[in-house]
Amino acid sequence: MKHFKIGIFLMFLFSVACSEKLDFKQVEEFEHRPVIKTPLVYFTLYSNDFIDTVSGAENVNPLSDVSDFRILENAYLRDNLEKIIIDIEVKNEITRDFTVEIVFLDDNGTVIYTLSTLNVPPQNEAFTYQESIEVRLNPIILNTRKTRTSVTISGAATPLIENDPRAFELKSAGTYFIAAE
């Protein structure tokens, strides 16, 4: 019986485990702040894109294209996006000025945000532009569902040369700053 009691006592000892005081509420302070980079729109235009194939005259109207842009339909992004930085790089080999207008549209095609117009000087092969959009100050940006880019060539200083291999290239990227609890 004595040994049985020793056994019970030892069993009791084994079962009395301890732990220092822990504070699990700290989890509430957890915040993760991922920063995500993705490529956006890119294109290359040549002199021929600004010359009317029939009349041979220069096309002074802006060239324009539009795409759906639906990543902001994502509820996680809508709830936690803090800031978007748009980076643009232009390589203009053509001997003319260009203006580029990039706008964000909602599902109805209404313009809800316009980036500052880019004025790209002639033959500037390292033009860069960055615009930061704080979601807190521009919450409507979250309604973006399309993006449109319009490119206009400046008036004739030096005439365009047909089949000129020199190009106007634009690249862009978005950096999304997320703060989620």
Binding site: A17, F30, Y42
Partner: protein, 450 residues
Amino acid sequence: MLLFVSIDTLTQNKQVLYGFAENPQTLLLNPGAETNYKFHIGIPFLSGISGDVALKNFKLNDLFSEDGIDFNTKIFRLLNKLAPEDHLKLNVQIDVLNAGFRVNDKTYISFGFYQELDAIAYWPKDVITLLNEGNAPYLNKSFDLSQLLYKVDFVGVLHVGMSRKINQKLTLGGRFKVYSSTLNIETQNNSGTFTTQLGTNNIYTNYLNTIDLNFLSAGLVVNNAYLENPMELITNSFLGGSLGVGLDIGLTYHLSPRLEFTGSIIDFGYINYSKKVQNTTVKGSYTFEGVNFLFDPANPTNYWAELNADFEEKVPRGNNTNAYASWRPTKVNAALKYSFGSERRSKFCYDNTFKEFYTDAIGLQIHTIMRPLRPQYALTGFYEKTFTEKLHAKVTYTVDDYSFHNVGVGISTQIGNVSLFGMVDTLFAFNNLANASSASFQMGLNLIFD
């Protein structure tokens, strides 16, 4: 607190119980273990309970200490410290029924049913880093998706085994098992990387390279809805789940009267998951450079729809309900035990013969378990002390993945026909579980009839 450990807490390395005091439960670790009783009956649900939780390279107080350090700083430190081979493992085993009887002086039959929850999840460091910090700070880094590796299994195990004394030196044993798994989720053998690099056509290019991901589940999803009644997992574990078979084999061999070798292979088997299966696969490669505007108003392009269609075509995702098989986590045990001290004789009551034994023993044990990433090894040194024929104690010192100084202790006592054993591992951790990487216990209550 014991309850806390059991709730809070694979098939664990039961180094204290292995080969200890000829307890009936040791037959589940080595079917070739020697026994010296006529029959045994386990107290239902209490004959063998064990729990084990281990977090490799992580302690609770890394994160939750009241140390005044900003929680996000602690998270950042932890994320940097953890490696893809670090993992969380959890094993809870409850013996529902366990009994055995002696057929003759050489043969002992034992059988029963136990339930086991076994889980291991490796730390997908790259995936966590990507989710937590994004790709921006990691240009050119290939985030490795093969680090996604986990396996969770809830099984009921029906078993019958036999140990047979071949001669004075050798005892052999085997156990046949039928597994019934009511829940399995696992992902293994994944591959693929995600990389962001400076691009040529655009500023950045995102690459998904040779993605091949498989997420398998059985018992979790029925008709596209998650399991609603968790009790089904338990009630169906008695042959109502996905079935499998397995084998345990083991031996005891006396090299000399004082030197004994034991060895076993446990859970050499597999389960064919066929019930309530829902698998998801993702496969392919994709290069994303953004949207290439063509400025062709005569033929406007729906870039976004094209992008989606192209992605779906190149990285198809699919669901299926195909049955799949998965190996059980097979364990291999081996031990060498040297006995010394006073020589005593205990009566073998079933045939009125006597067995000589010694009061003290030391030895070495090795334990290996097959795991999804790689086998895990543990080396244990032990000292066993017999106070009386009915009271035994064992102290172990184990070196394994989780600790280089894991001390375990166990006692086994018998009063009348009641045999009680209790053992804890990571003994020094029990005074502060928060500072432990692992904690485990085993206990059991059986009736033994000599």
